[in-house]
C-alpha cells in the first residue's frame, strides 16, 4: 500500500513537472530505498500533505529517490538545477547524501534545505540550511542531563558511521567541560547479528551511563544486549531513536531509558508556554489523521518544518522576483537568511547569514520511557 502511494506520488510529480511551467518548483531528493529509507519514507509521507498553493502560487514538488546513495543524490540535484530549474532543493535525509547535493546547489545558486545534519561546508555554507537539530544542540541536552544526575563516567555504543562519529566528536569536549570521562567507545552496525561482545566490554568497564547512538528499530538491539549482560546504569538514546520502534522492539527492557528528542513528537506533553507546542500538536494531529494512530515520526516533522519554511519564505521572495528566474532563486536564499525567528514543530529556528544551523541550545528535550511512552523529564 505504502509503495503504491509512493509510486502514485512519484507519477503525479513527474506528470505535473511536464505540465506546469510558471509554478514554483521544489526539487526533493530523499532516500526512499536503501538503508536510509526509514528516514526518507516518513519524510515523503508528510510531503504528500504539502499544500497545493503557497502565497497564491502553485507549488510543485518533484520527488526523486536517491536510494541512500551520494552519487544518486548528486545526479538528482544535477537534474533539478539543469532540467527542472527548481527554485529550491529539499534533501536529502542522510549526512552523506545531503553533503553530495551542496556543491551542485552552490554552483547553481539554488538554496538547499537539508533534512540531515551535515558538517560545515566552508564557502558553500552560504547555500545550505539545515532543518534537523545539529549534534551540538542535542549533545548539549544529553550532557546537561547527565550532569544533573551525577553521571561521572560514560560509555559509548554507536553506529560505525557518520552518525555515530558525529555524536562521539561532539560529546567529547562537552563532557570534558562538565568533568565527565568517556571510559569506553564501541561501535556496531544496524544489521549485526549480535552486539554481545561490545556489551560485554562496556559492562566490564561499568560506566555510570551508556550512550547508545543508533536509529529507529536499530536502537533497541544494543540495549537488549546490555540488559542481557546485567548492566544496571543509566542508558541514553539519541533523537534518531525517538520513535515508537524503540519500544516495539525493546519492550520492557527499554523502560527508564533517557531519550533526547526534538519537541515535534511531544506536543501534548510540552508546557503550555513552550513555543513549539502549537506547531507540534498540529503536525502530529494531521500526520496521524492521514497515516493512522501512533504513526508520528520525527523525520516527518522535518518535512513539516520545511512546509512552515516555504510558507514563510515564498511570499517574501515573490515580492522581489518571478518564480523560475535566477533572481527568484537568489531571493529565496536571501529570505531564508532573513526570515527571522520562526517557530517550528522541532523547535525555534533562526537562520542568519552566520548560522545556518539556527536552533538554540534549548531545543533538545529530554524524555524518559515510562510504560512504553516517551515522557518529558
Amino acid at each position: 500500500m505504502k509503495f503504491t502511494k509512493t509510486l502514485l506520488t512519484l507519477a503525479i510529480a513527474t506528470l505535473a513537472s511536464s505540465a506546469a511551467l510558471a509554478d514554483i518548483k521544489v526539487g526533493v531528493s530523499l532516500a526512499l530505498t536503501g538503508p536510509g529509507s526509514g528516514l526518507g519514507i516518513p519524510m515523503q509521507k508528510q510531503l504528500s500533505l504539502f499544500p497545493k498553493t503557497v502565497g497564491g502560487e502553485k507549488v510543485e514538488l518533484i520527488i526523486l529517490d536517491d536510494a541512500s546513495d551520494p552519487g544518486k543524490a548528486a545526479a538528482n540535484a544535477r537534474r533539478f538545477v539543469t532540467e527542472d530549474k527548481v527554485d529550491v532543493i529539499f534533501g536529502s535525509c542522510l549526512t552523506p547524501t545531503s553533503s553530495a547535493i551542496t556543491p551542485i546547489a552552490f554552483e547553481a545558486k539554488t538554496a538547499q534545505i537539508s533534512g540531515a545534519p551535515t558538517p560545515p561546508q566552508g564557502e558553500k555554507e552560504s547555500i545550505v540550511f539545515r532543518l534537523p537539530q545539529g549534534f551540538d544542540v542535542m549533545s548539549h541536552a544529553v550532557v546537561e542531563h547527565m550532569k544533573k544526575n551525577g553521571v561521572k563516567t560514560v560509555g559509548f555504543l554507536g553506529y560505525a558511521d557518520g552518525y555515530g562519529q558525529g555524536w562521539l566528536a561532539n560529546m567529547g569536549p562537552l563532557m570534558e567541560k562538565a568533568g565527565m570521562k568517556m571510559v569506553e567507545a564501541e561501535r556496531f552496525a544496524r544489521t549485526d547479528t549480535s552486539v554481545t561482545p561490545q556489551a560485554l566490554k562496556l559492562t566490564a568497564a561499568n560506566p555510570d551511563a551508556i550512550l547508545v547512538v543508533a536509529s529507529g528499530s536499530g536502537a533497541a538491539m544494543p540495549q537488549l544486549a546490555l540488559a542481557e549482560r546485567g548492566y544496571k546504569g543509566k542508558i541514553y538514546q539519541t533523537h534518531a531513536a525517538a520513535t515508537p520502534d524503540l519500544m516495539r522492539i525493546g519492550g520492557k527492557t527499554v523502560e527508564g531509558t533517557f531519550v533526547v528528542s526534538g519537541p515535534a513528537l511531544l506536543g501534548d506533553q510540552l508546557a503550555d508556554n513552550h513555543p513549539s507546542k502549537k506547531q507540534a500538536l498540529n503536525f502530529v494531529a494531521n500526520f496521524e489523521k492521514a497515516f493512522g494512530a501512533n504513526s508520528r515520526n520525527q523525520f516527518a516533522g522535518h518535512s513539516y518544518d520545511f512546509q512552515i519554511t516555504m510558507e514563510k519564505v515564498i511570499p517574501m521572495a515573490l515580492k522581489k522576483a518571478k518564480p523560475g528566474t535566477a533572481e527568484f532563486r537568489a531571493a529565496m536564499r536571501d529570505s531564508l537568511e532573513t526570515m527571522g525567528r520562526t517557530v517550528f514543530a522541532h523547535g525555534v529556528m533562526n537562520w542568519t547569514a552566520k548560522d545556518h544551523d539556527g536552533y538554540t541550545m534549548e531545543t533538545g528535550v529530554m524524555t524518559k520511557v515510562v510504560d512504553g511512552k516517551f515522557k518529558v523529564e
Binding site: 505504502k2 509503495f3 530505498t33 538503508p35 529509507s37 526509514g38 519514507i41 560505525a160 564501541e186 561501535r187 556496531f188 552496525a189 544496524r190 544489521t191 549485526d192 547479528t193 549480535s194 552486539v195 554481545t196 561482545p197 561490545q198 560485554l200 566490554k201 566490564a204 529507529g216 528499530s217 536499530g218 533497541a220 538491539m221 520502534d245 522492539i249
Partner: protein
C-alpha cells in the same frame, strides 16, 4: 580478558557460527550442483524471519503475493517450454499445473491462516513453507534457461536476483526491523555463561539439519542424484538425471535452509529487509574457506568466522567486518598456492 569473558564470546561466536554454517552449506550445495554462486542466499534468511514477523501481526505477508506472481510466471514459462518441446497441449498444461500447485496451495493457506492468530509453532512452519516454495521458482524464472552459461554469467544473474529480492523485501516489510519472540524462554546457567533456550534451539536445529542433509545425500536416491550432478553434469544427464529438476531441488533445499536460519536468528537480533545480505556473505566466506566444495570445510569455516567475529567485535568493534572479510584473503592465497592452477570453468 578473563576466562568468563572468553567463554561468553566463544558461545556468542559459535551461536552465530552455527547460522553461518547452515548458510555456508547451502552455498556449497548450490555451487556444486549448479555452479551458481548464490548471493541471494541471505535474502531467504530475512524473508523467513520477516514473514513470521508479519504473520505474528496478523497481516498477510507481502511474500505471499510475490509467491503467487512468481508461481504464475514460472508455470507459464514451464508450460510454454514444454509446448515448444513436444507440441502437446495437454502435457504443457500438466507441466504448468505441477509448477503451480505447491506454491499456490501454500499461498492460499497463508492467506487463510494470517488473520487467525494461530500458535507461533504453526506460523513458523507456514513461514518456512512460504519461503521454501520460492526456491524452485527463483531457479525456474532466473536461472534455468541459463543452465549451461559460465559461472561468471550466473554470478551476474545472482547479483541481479539479490537486488530484486532486497528491493521487494523493502516493499513488503518496510524499512524498519522486527524482532521475533523467542521460541523457548528457558535459561540454563552453565559455569560463567548462561545458555538461553533459543541458543539450544539454534544448536539443535543446525545439528539436526546437517545430519539430515548428510543422510539425504548418502541414503536417498534423489540425494545421490544431486551428488552425481555435482560430480559431472553431463554424465548425470546421460544417466537420466534431469539437470532442471536437480537445480530446482537444490534451490528448494537452499531456500529451506535459509528460511530456517531466519527463524533461528529472528529472536536473537533485529532483522531488517536487508539484513540477509551480510549474514549470507559470512556464510559465503565460510564456504570459501571450505573451498566452495567441502561441507565439513564450510562447517569449520563458519564456526571460525563466528568466533573471529565475536572476538573482533570485542577488541576492535569499529573494524569487525573488516576483520571478518579480510580473513578471506589469506585463505584464497593459501588455496591458490596449494591448489595451483585450475580450469577457468569446470
Amino acid at each position: 580478558m578473563d576466562f568468563s569473558i572468553a567463554s561468553i564470546l566463544m558461545l556468542d561466536g559459535v551461536t552465530n557460527g552455527a547460522i553461518y554454517a547452515l548458510l555456508g552449506l547451502a552455498t556449497v550445495l548450490v555451487f556444486t550442483v549448479t555452479r551458481i554462486i548464490f548471493i541471494p542466499q541471505g535474502e531467504f534468511v530475512a524473508y523467513g524471519a520477516l514473514t513470521l514477523a508479519m504473520l505474528q501481526t496478523g497481516k498477510v505477508p507481502g511474500t505471499v503475493w510475490l509467491l503467487f506472481i512468481l508461481a504464475v510466471v514460472a508455470a507459464l514459462m514451464e508450460g510454454v517450454a514444454r509446448w515448444r518441446h513436444n507440441g502437446q497441449f495437454g502435457s504443457a498444461l500438466r507441466a504448468a499445473f505441477k509448477t503451480l500447485v505447491f506454491p499456490v496451495l501454500v499461498a492460499g493457506l497463508a492467506i487463510w491462516a494470517a488473520p487467525q492468530q494461530l500458535p507461533m509453532g504453526i506460523q513458523a512452519v507456514l513461514s518456512v513453507a512460504i519461503v521454501t516454495a520460492f526456491g524452485p521458482l527463483v531457479y525456474r524464472v532466473a536461472y534455468q534457461s541459463l543452465e549451461s552459461a559460465t559461472p561468471l554469467v550466473l554470478l551476474i544473474v545472482s547479483v541481479g536476483v539479490h537486488f530484486a529480492m532486497t528491493g521487494l523485501g523493502l516493499l513488503f516489510f518496510g524499512a524498519e526491523g522486527f524482532r521475533n519472540p523467542s521460541f523457548w524462554d528457558q535459561r540454563f546457567p552453565l559455569g560463567p555463561v548462561t545458555v538461553s533456550g533459543q541458543m539450544v534451539i539454534i544448536f539443535a536445529v543446525s545439528l539436526a539439519l546437517i545430519v539430515m542433509l548428510w543422510l539425504y545425500f548418502e541414503r536417498s536416491l534423489r540425494g545421490k542424484a544431486l551428488r552425481a550432478t555435482a560430480v559431472n553434469r553431463t554424465g548425470a544427464r546421460l544417466m537420466g538425471i534431469s539437470s532442471h529438476s536437480a537445480g530446482q531441488l537444490t534451490f528448494l533445499l537452499a531456500a529451506l535452509i535459509g528460511a530456517l536460519s531466519g527463524l533461528l536468528i529472528g529472536p536473537t537480533t533485529t532483522v531488517y529487509y536487508d539484513s540477509g545480505f551480510l549474514i549470507g556473505l559470512k556464510g559465503f566466506v565460510a564456504a570459501v574457506i571450505g573451498g566452495l566444495a567441502s561441507y565439513p570445510g564450510a562447517l569449520l569455516g563458519a564456526l571460525f568466522v563466528g568466533i573471529v567475529e565475536a572476538f573482533g567485535a570485542f577488541w576492535a568493534s569499529a573494524f569487525k567486518e573488516v576483520i571478518v572479510f579480510t580473513l578471506i584473503l589469506p585463505v584464497l592465497l593459501a588455496r591458490s598456492l596449494r591448489g595451483g592452477h585450475s580450469d577457468e570453468d569446470h
